[in-house]
């Protein structure tokens, strides 16, 4: 039987685990159209005609949060056959609060009570049959982590579809409210389906703006209704929305003691003991620092780093795959261009990206452990105060940390930030942190231009400070624009119980992240690598050339290098290096090497240090460094930004913003810096003006901030 079912439930209720155990590998991960919210779709393993859509984790169906609006729009407009409402059995009250709202949508609901193993361990008792009566719908006990109860759950879903379903109200509000609801229902009955009538009537009573928009009532009718509601609100001294919320909880409270029998001898929970140490007033921050150091040390420096070096140097190194393919191509007398495009273009380009796979594997694994164990929420708890100042939340820390390894997991980690605007902001700015591939650029500039200088040691730390400063500045500036201002949402978050991550869950997490990464390397990066190889190895007459100075890329660089003159490095070599850096930032140093006539340079480009110091001054080289650190990241990261944004428009806004910031900051550094070397001209004035504009954007008052507080 062809069916479409949705999974709905609170965050941390085990929804994703249930989705994975129902669908296995038969899932597709994308975004909800145009927003940064992940959409997962799949079909049930043994029932290929049952499609499952995983709705975002939500606490309510209010009109105020993006995730909740997406969920209710989908339920109301896409007409799923059944809602599976996953409920955390150890947290019944708040979970059933969502249930009261899901039932009101008129779509048949099957309740899946999860974490039955925890309930059993605590010696608590849940009376599912009583819950079933309370909500007038089937209830199945499951343990998603151990894939227990899935069969019964699917059977219940099929049964409800086969037997048909008629909606009966479950929560009856107080007489006065019910009277108003039925009056409203009478007024709107011509506008909505019968099974949705009560939902919309309640929403109108709540003065829910989204529902009122959908209904588009007569002015006279809506005035009449509002007058009644306002009179009622005045009588009760509270707004209608809150009155409904209170009665929903009251409904649950009336039943919960009868359906959930708590073990009286409550031992102090393990989570409580762990938290006493991990979020301790004095130990909390040091422990956090140690954990972060370990994540970084294991993934970037040691385990991940060693494996990445192995892939880069041994597999994709000169004696590895390239030599193998070269030898093979030579043995069959292949055309030289084919050899070039295969070895230098494809293997070189894709290899540079795939080389990061081991590092990302370790990073994702450790990140997954932190997330699933529940420590990630504590990090947000510990760090929130610092980030709050800049309009960000404690969860902004992780994307920044990841980006020091690689911008791709960094952008992906922005997913964990709750609010859409903050998420977008982090996706746009997290690549300002210097990633692993940018380190050679820093080494090159520090070595070539600041060697022996008293500030040489400062260059690398300044790159990290610049990254952090740029994220903070960008956040402050962007929050004052309408597109990011939006509704102020409170920071209120659940601290889930600690638990050991499951191997299965972790494997899933890592596998899916890596899969999308590899897919990108195989498609967009492959194509881009071939194009760049072509442009740098062919002349305008489409003849393959050996001198890179005659390539299409070089002549294009000579044509547009004037763009970068105001930044102090308007020479074509630097221009071309910057552009090849868009393919992969490792290319910047190697391109310099090729353009200065070296076939091969070491990672820090020591061979070209002297040559470079002819074309740059220390100031212009620093401006070059700054531009390359904060301009648009490599194509792979841009592709990730596009995936996470879920919108072309926002991808372009992100790239545009990054490039604009890079250009402005570099210009200010070079032109204002030049004044101190005794140079003053028209550009100095432009530099000063840009600096003033930047300062204005940072310090101007925020007109979108709530003044009421």
């Amino acid at each position: 039987m062809k069916m479409k079912i949705v999974l709905a439930g609170n965050p941390n209720s085990g929804k994703t685990t249930l989705f994975n155990s129902l669908t296995g590998n038969n899932q597709h991960i994308g975004n909800w159209p145009g927003v940064t919210v992940e959409k997962k779709e799949g079909f049930i393993r043994s029932y290929k005609d049952i499609t499952v859509i995983d709705l975002p984790g939500i606490y309510s169906l209010s009109p105020y949060s993006l995730e909740e609006v997406i969920s209710r729009d989908y339920i109301l407009n896409e007409k799923p056959d059944v809602i599976i409402n996953i409920v955390d059995g150890s947290n019944l009250e708040r979970n059933l609060y969502l249930t009261t709202q899901l039932i009101e949508t008129g779509v048949p609901v099957v309740i899946a009570i999860n974490m039955m193993d925890v309930i059993a361990k605590n010696k608590d008792i849940i009376k599912s049959s009583a819950i079933s009566k309370m909500f007038n719908c089937p209830v199945v006990e499951i343990t998603a982590l151990k894939s227990q109860g899935s069969e019964q759950l699917i059977a219940a879903v099929i049964k409800i579809k086969e037997e048909g379903y008629t909606y009966h109200p479950v929560v009856w509000y107080s007489q006065e409210i019910e009277k108003l609801i039925s009056e409203i229902a009478e007024e709107i009955k011509s506008k909505v389906d019968d099974d949705k009538k009560r939902w919309y009537a309640i929403k109108v009573f709540e003065k829910d703006e989204k529902a009122l928009e959908d209904l588009n009532l007569d002015q006279l009718v809506s005035q009449n209704i509002s007058a009644k509601i306002e009179a009622f609100e005045a009588l009760k001294d509270d707004d209608s929305e809150s009155l409904v919320t209170r009665e929903r909880y009251a409904f649950i409270n009336r039943f919960v003691d009868r359906v959930y029998l708590k073990n009286k001898i409550k031992t102090q929970s393990i989570s409580y003991k762990i938290d006493k140490v991990l979020t301790n007033k004095y130990l909390g921050l040091p422990i956090f620092a140690i954990i972060i150091f370990l994540v970084y040390y294991l993934s970037i420096s040691t385990v991940g780093g060693i494996m990445t070096d192995f892939v880069n140097d041994t597999i994709f190194g000169d004696n590895g795959l390239p030599a193998l393919v070269n030898g093979w191509l030579a043995s069959i007398n292949a055309w030289p261009w084919l050899q070039g495009v295969l070895v230098e273009g494809i293997i070189g380009g894709v290899g540079a990206v795939l080389g990061f796979l081991p590092q990302m594997f370790v990073l994702f694994l450790l990140l997954g452990i932190l997330e699933e164990s529940g420590y990630m929420a504590r990090i947000a708890f510990i760090l929130d105060k610092i980030f709050k100042r800049f309009g960000l939340s404690g969860k902004s820390f992780f994307p920044m940390l990841m980006s020091t390894g690689c911008g791709i997991p960094g952008v992906m980690a922005a997913r964990t930030i709750e609010e859409e605007n903050n998420r977008k902001l982090m996706i746009m700015t997290t690549t300002f942190m210097p990633c692993g591939a940018k380190l050679p650029i820093i080494a090159l500039i520090a070595g070539a231009m600041f060697r022996g200088s008293s500030i040489q040691w400062l260059i690398a730390p300044s790159a990290y400070l610049l990254g952090i400063a740029m994220i903070i500045i960008s956040s402050i500036i962007l929050k004052k624009f309408k597109g990011f201002a939006g509704k102020e949402s409170p920071f209120i978050m659940e601290l889930p119980d600690y638990h050991l991550p499951s191997v299965k869950g972790l494997a899933f997490h890592v596998y899916h992240k890596l899969k999308s990464f590899v897919k990108k390397a195989g498609t967009i990066i492959l194509l881009a690598s071939v194009i760049v190889w072509f442009l740098s190895n062919f002349s305008w007459s489409f003849v393959m050339i050996s001198d890179p100075n005659q390539s299409i890329l070089a002549s294009a660089g000579k044509l547009i290098d004037v763009i970068f003159s105001p930044l102090g490095w308007g020479n074509w070599k630097a221009t071309v290096a910057t552009f090849t850096g868009l393919i992969a930032k490792e290319n910047v140093v190697s391109t310099f090497g090729v353009l200065y006539g070296f076939a091969e340079v070491s990672e820090s480009g020591a061979e070209i240090w002297t040559l470079l110091s002819v074309d740059f001054t220390p100031l212009s080289s620093y401006s070059f460094l700054v531009f390359n650190l904060i301009c648009a990241p490599c194509i792979a990261a841009v592709a990730t930004i596009k995936r996470e944004m879920g919108s072309k428009k926002w991808t372009w806004i992100a790239i545009g913003f990054q490039t604009l910031m890079a250009y402005t900051i570099s210009l200010i550094i070079f032109q204002v810096g030049s004044i101190f070397t005794g140079l003053f001209n028209g550009w100095s004035i432009i530099g000063i003006i840009l600096l003033i504009i930047l300062l204005y954007l940072i310090f101007r008052p925020n007109k979108y901030l709530n003044i009421s507080k």
Partner: protein, 79 residues
Amino acid sequence: MMSSLDKAKIGSECIIVKVSGEKPIKRRLMDMGLIPGTRVFVKRLAPLGDPMEIMVRGTELTLRKADALNIMIEVIAEG
């Protein structure tokens, strides 16, 4: 004694009297179960002094003092 939740001492037990604030904030607080009449236990502050961690309806929540300001409480047991 009435006060707002952000001023409650660590270890104290309170009952929510009133929730106010702009609609989205008020609704979100109430959606999380912070309803008048609900018992709240103040567990701890983050190492830097904000946000705070509270226990409500058997679960642990963390919220900023700036948001807790919207929740009026009556202390029933001092910490």
